[in-house]
Symmetry: C2
Subunit: 118 residues, 2 copies
DNA sequence: TAATGTAGGCACTTTTAAGTAACAATTACG
DNA sequence: CGTAATTGTTACTTAAAAGTGCCTACATTA
């Protein structure tokens, strides 16, 4: 069984890694289907997306809903437990914004325009 | 120059990875010297510790102070900018605690007793 | 004189994370 | 009948993160 030295490590195991926080930040705004998430995250590969979504699902923070259609339609959303991360995610997003502003004079240089993709 | 799709990625670049949040959680309680941090984080190697501390220093969230002594004495502490992460770190720690409680019936099984090390 | 304690560097190896590419399933549509 | 659309799997490869072992410096202390 996994051992932690301090409790925060347990949180990192759930939302750690390169993609999970980003995925959750999108799902906090809206439920999304797979293809939408892929478009919102131009860098991610199909494999990584599926893998991260599975792990988040296993940890109980997101819900995967399959609609019986062809072509298939799968939607992801936060569970109640996932919503308990809202405070953290909001703070992280806000901190990231002001960090960019602090670090780069004009954030247009570092921020890819994604709004259009939403 | 690094490009982000959403601002939160900038935050992850500063506090992402396996160790940085843990380091910051310790420094938020107290300033620490290198050896203390190493004892508080039994899993970390000297190399990783130094490396992560350097990066945190470069990002302006921690301060490295060298005392001119032999054997050397180096102390790390949060900068003002580092303190702006307090909300996030506190929330993460709290979430980790309740996640352990939710996930494991008795947390003694997963939490290594570190209190004695402090 | 030789060992101790502290912080850290460096070269190298291993492990883990992430990326690539090809393929499956299914039905509507032209 | 062949193709597009959507989600996902699998085997393989590459890149990044982390770990290992050995080395330095130097005043103090035994």
């Amino acid at each position: 069984m996994k051992k932690y030295n301090i409790p925060v490590e347990a949180a990192l195991e759930v939302i750690g890694g390169k993609w999970k926080v980003v995925i959750l930040c999108h799902l906090i705004k809206d439920r999304r289907r797979t293809g939408e998430l892929k478009r919102l995250m131009p860098g991610i590969t199909q494999k990584m997306l599926t893998q991260q979504l599975r792990e988040l699902e296993d940890d109980g923070v997101i819900l995967r809903e399959v609609y019986n259609q062809v072509p298939p339609r799968v939607e992801y959303s936060l569970t109640d437990y996932g919503w308990s991360l809202k405070g953290i995610l909001d703070s992280l997003c806000a901190w990231g914004e002001q960090h960019i502003e602090k670090t780069y004079p004009n954030k247009e240089d570092v921020l890819v325009q994604t709004e259009e993709l939403v």
